[in-house]
Symmetry: C2
Subunit: 480 residues, 2 copies
C-alpha cells in the first residue's frame, strides 16, 4: 500500500497535499505529481502532523526558507519555545527545525511544536539520542532507531540523518583548517573513533527507511563534512561524503521515501554554483537544502549577510531550500530580533533567486511595490514590504506625521532633490508621459500563493501568547 507522497506520485495518484501545493505554487497538480514521482521535489508531510498546510521543496518551485528553533541548555520552557515557533512563522519561515538539545522536556516541546505548526517540522534525532547517554560512545544502534521511530510517530515531517559520514572519510579531514563543524557529524565521528565501527546511521539506513516509509518522514541527508571555512570548501572529505549521500538517495528512493540533501556551509563565491551543480548531478536532482553558504569567514556579527549572498547564488543555481543564519551565528544564541533579521535576509535571497530564475509571478511583488513607491503611496508601500513594521518605523523615524503618508518625498533626499518628484513634474509639464499602469496582483500567477504579495506569512494556526499558556497547562495535564 502506498504510504508516502513519493509512492502515491509514482502510482499516478494526485494526493490532496499535491493539490494544495499546486494551488500555493500556481502550477498544475500533475506537474507537482511528476516532480515528486521523479524525486525532484519533496512534500514533507508526516501522516501524524494534522496542523500542516502542505508545501513543496524542489528546484522548480519557489525557493523555501527554514528557520531553526529549539530549546538549549539554558532555555527551556514550553511557552518560550512556542513563542519561537510563532516568531519564525510570523516572519515567514517555510519550515522550522526543532534543534532542541537541552533544557526541559524535549518530547513535550517537540509535540507542542508539531501540534501547532502549519509548516513542516524537522528535527535531528541524534541530538535527543545523545542526551540520553553519558558518553558519545554509549550510543547504540537500538537507541538511535528507537528515538527516530518515536519522533516519526510524533509527526516530525523531516529528519536530518547523519548517515553519509563514514570511517574511511575521517582521515580526509586531517588537513582541514576547521575540522568537522556539523554537530551531528562531530558526534558520529567521535563515535566511530571510539568504537572503531562504521557509522550506525549508515549501517542501519535501510531500517530507518522502513520507519520513514511507514509515517512518510522525509530524509534530510546531513552533510557532516561540510566545510566550516572557505579553506575547507570542496575538499576531498566533503565530496567523498557527497558521493555517499548520492548512494543513500538511491536507497531511500528504492524504499519509496522522499529525500532532500543538505549542503554547505562556507564556500567562496566562485564555487557556490558548481557545488550546487555537483550535488544535483551526484544525487540525481534530489532537492538541495543549503545552509548559507557563507561566502567569507571574516564577519562574525554579520553572518546573516555573508550567508544570504551565498544563499541567493545557490538558489539561483538550483538549491531548493535555504536554512537561515542569524547575526549571532558563531557567537551566541539568537534572540527574537536576530530571528527577524535572519529570516528577512533569507526571504530576500530566496525571492531574488525566484525572480532571477523567472519563477512565474515572482516579480509581480516587486512591480507592485515599485509602483506604490513611484506613486508616493507610502501606506501601500509599507503594506507590500517584506517587513511592513520595519519599513514604516524607518520612514516614520524622521517623518512620523499622517500628512507625510502621501508626501511626494521622504527625508532621504528631501522635497527639492527627490528624483521621482522632479521626474513626475517634468512629465506633467512636458512631453514625457505620466505613467499610471498598475500591476494587478489578483490576476497575477502569484496570487494566493504563500509568498507574495503579503508582508507576512499566514499565521492563523499559530497560537498567540495567551494561548500558549493554556496549551502549556494542557500539555502539563496530559503528562500527569
Amino acid at each position: 500500500m502506498a504510504e508516502t507522497q513519493l509512492q502515491h506520485a509514482r502510482e499516478g495518484t494526485v494526493t490532496s497535499a499535491m493539490e494544495r501545493v499546486a494551488e500555493r505554487e500556481n502550477v498544475d497538480p500533475e506537474f507537482v505529481r511528476e516532480q515528486v514521482a521523479e524525486g525532484q521535489a519533496v512534500i514533507p508531510a508526516n501522516h501524524h502532523h494534522d496542523a500542516l498546510d502542505a508545501m513543496i521543496i524542489g528546484r522548480e518551485f519557489s525557493t523555501k526558507v527554514n528557520a531553526n528553533i529549539g530549546a538549549s541548555e539554558t532555555t527551556s520552557d514550553l511557552e518560550e519555545e512556542l513563542e519561537k515557533l510563532h516568531t519564525a512563522v510570523h516572519y515567514g519561515a517555510d519550515t522550522v527545525m526543532d534543534l532542541s538539545t537541552g533544557g526541559g522536556d524535549l518530547d513535550r516541546i517537540r509535540q507542542a511544536n508539531i501540534d501547532h505548526s502549519p509548516v513542516p517540522v524537522g528535527t535531528v534525532p541524534l541530538y535527543e539520542a545523545r542526551r540520553q547517554v553519558d558518553d558519545v560512545a554509549d550510543l547504540s544502534h537500538e537507541l538511535l532507531l528507537d528515538v527516530i521511530e518515536k519522533q516519526a510517530e510524533q509527526g516530525v515531517d523531516y529528519m536530518t540523518i547523519h548517515a553519509g559520514i563514514l570511517m574511511e572519510h575521517l582521515p580526509k579531514t586531517d588537513g582541514r583548517k576547521t575540522g568537522i563543524v556539523s554537530r551531528g557529524g562531530s558526534i558520529m565521528a567521535q563515535w566511530m573513533e571510539e568504537r572503531g565501527m562504521q557509522n550506525p546511521l549508515y549501517a542501519k539506513f535501510e531500517e530507518i527507511c522502513d520507519i520513514f516509509a511507514e509515517h512518510d518522514v522525509t530524509f534530510s541527508l546531513g552533510d557532516s563534512l561540510r566545510p566550516g571555512s572557505l579553506a575547507d570548501a570542496g575538499d576531498e572529505a566533503q565530496y567523498a561524503e557527497l558521493d555517499t549521500l548520492g548512494e543513500l538517495t538511491q536507497v531511500a528512493w528504492d524504499y519509496g521515501v522522499q529525500v532532500m540533501v543538505e549542503g554547505p556551509g562556507h564556500v567562496p563565491m566562485d564555487m557556490v554554483a558548481e557545488q550546487v551543480e555537483r550535488q544535483q548531478r551526484v544525487c540525481d536532482g534530489a532537492p538541495f537544502y543549503v545552509l548559507g553558504p557563507l561566502v567569507t569567514d571574516i564577519a562574525p556579527g554579520y553572518d546573516h549577510i555573508t550567508s544570504a549572498i551565498g544563499a541567493a547564488i545557490a538558489a539561483q543555481a538550483g538549491a531548493a531550500m535555504l536554512c537561515y543564519v542569524t547575526p549571532k551565528e558563531h557567537l551566541g544564541l539568537p534572540e527574537r530580533e536576530d530571528v527577524r533579521d535572519g529570516l528577512a535576509s533569507y526571504r530576500i535571497a530566496a525571492h531574488a533567486a525566484d525572480v532571477g530564475q523567472g519563477q512565474p509571478g515572482a516579480r509581480d511583488w516587486d512591480d507592485a511595490l515599485s509602483e506604490a513607491r513611484y506613486n508616493f503611496d507610502w501606506r501601500r508601500q509599507f503594506d507590500l514590504a517584506l517587513d511592513p513594521e520595519r519599513a514604516q518605523a524607518y520612514h516614520d523615524q524622521t517623518l512620523p506625521g499622517d500628512n507625510y503618508k502621501d508626501a511626494r518625498f521622504c527625508s532621504m533626499c528631501g522635497v527639492e532633490f527627490c528624483s521621482m518628484r522632479i521626474d513626475q513634474d517634468a512629465r506633467d509639464a512636458g512631453d514625457m508621459d505620466e505613467l499610471d499602469d498598475e500591476t494587478d496582483l489578483d490576476a497575477s500567477p502569484a496570487a494566493e500563493t504563500n509568498v507574495p504579495p503579503v508582508g507576512t506569512h499566514e499565521e492563523a494556526d499559530v497560537p498567540d501568547q495567551s494561548e500558549y499558556i493554556d496549551l502549556g497547562d494542557r500539555v502539563h495535564a496530559d503528562d500527569d
Copy 2:
C-alpha cells in the same frame, strides 16, 4: 605638460601615487602604471587634496567601497559633517562622496572634508549649482562650469557628471515603471524638457575635460537613466545612455582625463553579470562603479542586504567600486548605525568578490579568522573580525566573563554540542590529527594593504570629535 595620473602613466612615468598604490595592493608599480595608462584603473587624486593617501579603483585591484555623506536640508553643521566623515572612514569606506544638498555652508563643509579626508572625496557639482537658482530651468552653462571649476580647485578627487542623458533618450523612459530615479538625472531631464535644449553637461563636456585635466579630477560618469526598479532594468533608455557614456569615456581619455562609469541600481540577479560585461565592452574597460544593484524591490528597511547581494555578484563579474546602500534607503536619512550596517554589508560584498576572483592574499584574512575560531581564541577572533566591537558585543551578550574568552564553546550550541570541541576531543583521543598550522599574515601578500587583516581602516588622519570643534572654529575664523 603631464597633469594627470593618466598622462603620466602614458608617458611611462611611475608617480609617487602609483608607488603608494602598488604598496597598498601588493603589486608591481609597473602593473599599476599600465592599468592606469590603459584607462583600466583610476587613481582619483586631485592636486590640491594634500591629506589624501592614494588608492586605486580598477577591476584588477581589490574591490573598493564608497560611502555617501553630506548635509541635507535639515542637518547642517560642520562638526556633524566631519563626524560623518570620521564614521565612514572608521567603518572602512575607501572613498566618500559629499552629497550635500542643503543646510549650512556647503563650500565650507566640502573644504573641511577635503582637508581632513585620507580617502578620495567625490561630489555631484550639479547639486550645488541647483541650490544657486530658484528654478531648474535657470541653470546656465556658465554656472555649471563655474561650480565644477571651483570644486576642482578645492581639491575634489572625482565628480559625478550627468552628461550621458540626452534629449533623444527621454521618450525612451515613457514606458518605465519608476521613471528617472537619479537625482542629477531628473534635474537634467527637467532642464531639457523646459529649455528644449540638449544636456548642458554634454554640450560643455570638452570644457569640463579641460578643467579636470588641469587639476586631475576623475570623471564618474553618472548613470541618469539607471533603473529604479527591476522592471526597468536593461531597458532601451538605460542602454542608450550607456552608449553615450562609452563615447564620453573616449573623449575624456583624449583629454588625458581619468574616467570611471556609474552603474545601476535595481537589477534582477540573472542580469547583473551581463550588465557589468556590457559596460566593460561599451566603455572599453573603464572602471565600473555600481550602486548596489538591488536584486529585489520588496524589502525597504533591508536594502543594504538586497543590494549587497547584487554588489557582490557585480564585483565578482568585474565591477571595481561599490557605492553602499544603507538600511534607510528609500525611507529616510541614514544615521550612524545605518552607516555602520551599510559599510559592513558592502565590505563583505567587496571582500567576498575579491576572494572569489582569487585576488592575491585576499583569503588569508578568512583563513586567519577561521584558525582563531577553531582554536577558540575568542580575543583574536574579535580582533580579526570585520567589526570587532559588534562581534564581541554579540558574544558577550550571553557569556560576558573574561573566563569565557578561551572557553571551548559559546552559547550558540553550548559545551556539550559544540562541534569544534567534539571534533578536537576526537582528534586528541583517536587517529585524527590535531591541527595547529597558522596563517602567517605578516608573510601574506595581503600584509600592509588597506584591507585585511585589520578590523577597521586607518583613521589616524581623521580628527576625533574634540578636534572637529577646534577645526570648526578655525574654519569659521578663516571665513571671517
